[in-house]
Amino acid sequence: MELLLLLGLPLAGAAVFGLLGARREAPEINVVFSLGTFLAACALTVRVIREGSLLLWHEQFFIDPFNLFLVTLTAFVALTTSLFSRPYMRIESVHGRVTPGRLRLYHSMYQLFSFTMLLALTTNNMGLLWVAMEGATLSTVLLVTLYRTPGSLEAGWKYFILCGVGIAQALFGTILLYFAAEKVLGAQGVTALLWTHLDAVKSTLEPSVLALAFVFLLVGYGTKVGLAPLHNWLPDAHAEGPTPISAVLSGLLLNVALYAVVRCKILVEGSLHSTLPSRMLMGFGLLSLVLATLFLWRQRDIKRLFAYSSIEHMGIATFAFGMGGPVANFAALLHMTVHSLTKSAIFFTVGHAAQKAGSQLMDDIRGLITLSPTVGWGLMMGSLAILGMPPFGVFASEFLILTTAMREQPWATPILLAALGIAFAAIFGRVQPMVFGETRLRRLPHAPALLPVFTHLAIVLLLGLYIPPYLADWYRAAARLIGGP
C-alpha cells in the first residue's frame, strides 16, 4: 500500500502537471505531491521498522536496509528541493528565463524524475532497474535544456549521448547477468532477473560471464555515477540546468546510480571469489577523486565547482565500497547520505547566490554575508561541511574511510591526503571571498527559501554527533549485505 502511494503519487503528479497545463500555483502543487511521496516513504519506513524487510508484488519489489534509507532520503530531498524550487523558479520567471510552458514541463518532469528514482531503488528486477535508470536520464534531459541557451543544449546533448551509450552498456551487462542466471534459475525467465534470487544463488553463477557482465554494468551505471573518465557529462549538466535540478542530480541520481553499481558488485563478488570488482571500484574511486580535485582547481563557475566536488565525493564513496568490510561499507553508506544532503543544501544556497549576483561566475559573487547573512552562512557552513570539517557528518564518514584506508590500503593514503588537501584549497579558496568581503549583490523579488538549507545542514550536523540507532542498524545490516573481499 505504502509502496503503491510511494510510486503512484509522483507518477500521478507527472500526469497531472502534464494535463492541467501551466498554473500559477503549480509550485505549491508540486510541493504537495512531493510531501505526499515523502509521507508514503515515512509510512513505508515505519512498516519496515515494524516488520523487517519486505517482498511485494510477486517479488517484483523489495525493501531491505540497503535501499530503505535511500528511499527515505530520496523522498526527503525531493521534498526539500521542491520547497526550494518554489521561490527559485518564481524568481527565474520574473527574470524571464523560463516561460509558463516550460515551467509546466519542468514540474511534470520533476515528478517523473522522482518516480524513476524511487522505482530504481525499490525494484527487485535488474531489468526494471535498468529501465528506471534510463527513464531517469530521459526525464532529466529536457530539464537540463530548460533554458534553451546554447550551453544548456550542449550540456543536454552530452548528457543524453553519454548516459544513453553508457546505459546501453549496462543493458548488455544485464543481458549477460540474465544469461548466467538463467543457467541456474531455469529458463522460465520470470525470477532469473530478480535480485533476491540472484543473491541467493550468486555463488553458483558462472564467474567468467559475471566478470564480463560486471564490467559492462560498471561502465554503464558508472557513467551515471560520474566516475572518471566517464564523468564528462556531469559538470555541464549540473552547471547549465536549473539549480533545483543540479541539486537533485547531485543529491539523488548519483546515489541511485552508485546503489545500482553496488547491487551488481554484491552479486559479482559473490560468484567471482576474487577481488577484481573491489579493485576496479577502488581504482575508479581514486581516479575520480584525483581528477575531480584537479579540475576543481581551475573552476570559475560556481555550479561547475560543486559539480566536480560531487564527482570527488562519489569517488570517495566508491573507493570505500571497493575497500569493503563492515567499517568501510558503513562509512560509504553514511557518506552517500550526508553528501546528498549537504550537496543539495549547497546548491540551494548557490542558486540564490547566483540569482543575487545575476551570474554563476564566482568572481561576480562577493560579500554574501553582508547582504544576506543567511545565504552567506548557509554557503559557508555547507562548504565547510562538504570539505569534511567536523562536527558535520561528512567528517564522520571520511574519518572512518581514512582510518580504514590507513590500515587496509596504506598506499592509497598519500593520494587521499593530497587530493583532500587540494580540494580544500580549491573550494574554500573560492568560497571565502564569495561569503566575506565587500558586497556587490542585489536584492531578490521573492524571499529565498532557506528552510531546506538549514534543515539539511542541521541533519548533517546531527549525523556528525549522533546517529540514530535504527539508522545505524540499517547501515550495519547493509554493510553486512555488501560484504567485501
Binding site: 543544449l153 550540456a155 546501453a168 548488455f172 549477460l176
Partner: protein, 222 residues
Amino acid sequence: MPQIALDQQLLDACAAVMLLLSFAMLSQRRIVSLVNLYAVQGGALATATLLVAWRTGEGHLYLSAALTIALKVIFLPWLLHRLIRRLEVYWDTEPLLNVSGTMLAGLLIVVFAFGLAQPITQLASTATRSAIGIAVSVVLLAFLMMITRRKAMSQVVGFLSMENGLFFAAMSATYGMPMVVELGVALDVLVAMLVLGVFFFQIREQFDSLDLHHLESLKERD
C-alpha cells in the same frame, strides 16, 4: 535433418547480414541511406527473432519480433526520415577518422569481440550461440561509429544500431529477456527518440545546424 540445418543457415545469414550492415553504416556518409541501412538491420534482427521463435516456439519472441518490426523497421526510420527532411541534413561531413582507418579499427574490434564472446558462447545452449560474437561486435561497431561521426543525426543512428546489437545479443544468448524488460526497453527507446526529436529542433533553432562542433564550448581546456 536438413530442415534444421536450413534455418540454422538462415540464422547465421541474418547474423552475417547484421555484421555486414554495421560495417556499411560505419562507412556510409549519406544520412538518408544510413537510416535505410538501420531499417534493414532492424529487419534482419526481426527475421532472426522470428526464426528463433518459430524454432523454439517461445511465444514472447513472436511478440518481441513484432515489436522490433513495428519500432525499428517502420516507426523509427519513418521518424528519422521525417526529421531529416524537416531539418535538411542529408550528408554527414567527413568523419573524424577516415573510412579506411575506421574499417581497420572495426576489424580489430570484431576480433576482440569474438575473443570476448568466447566464454559466453561456450556456455550458451541456444542454437544461436554462434551469433553472440557478432552481436557483441555490432554493439562495439556502433560505438565506434558514434565516436567517429560529426553530425548529431548519425550519432543517433549509431545509438540505435547499438540498441539493435543489444537485442540481437539478448536474443541469441538467451532467446530474449523477460517480457516486462523487453517492453520497458522498447518504451525507453521510443521515448528516447521522441525526446531526441524535440532536441534536434531545439538545437536547430539555436545553431541552425546539427553539426556537433557547435556543441564543444563547455570544456576545461582553454
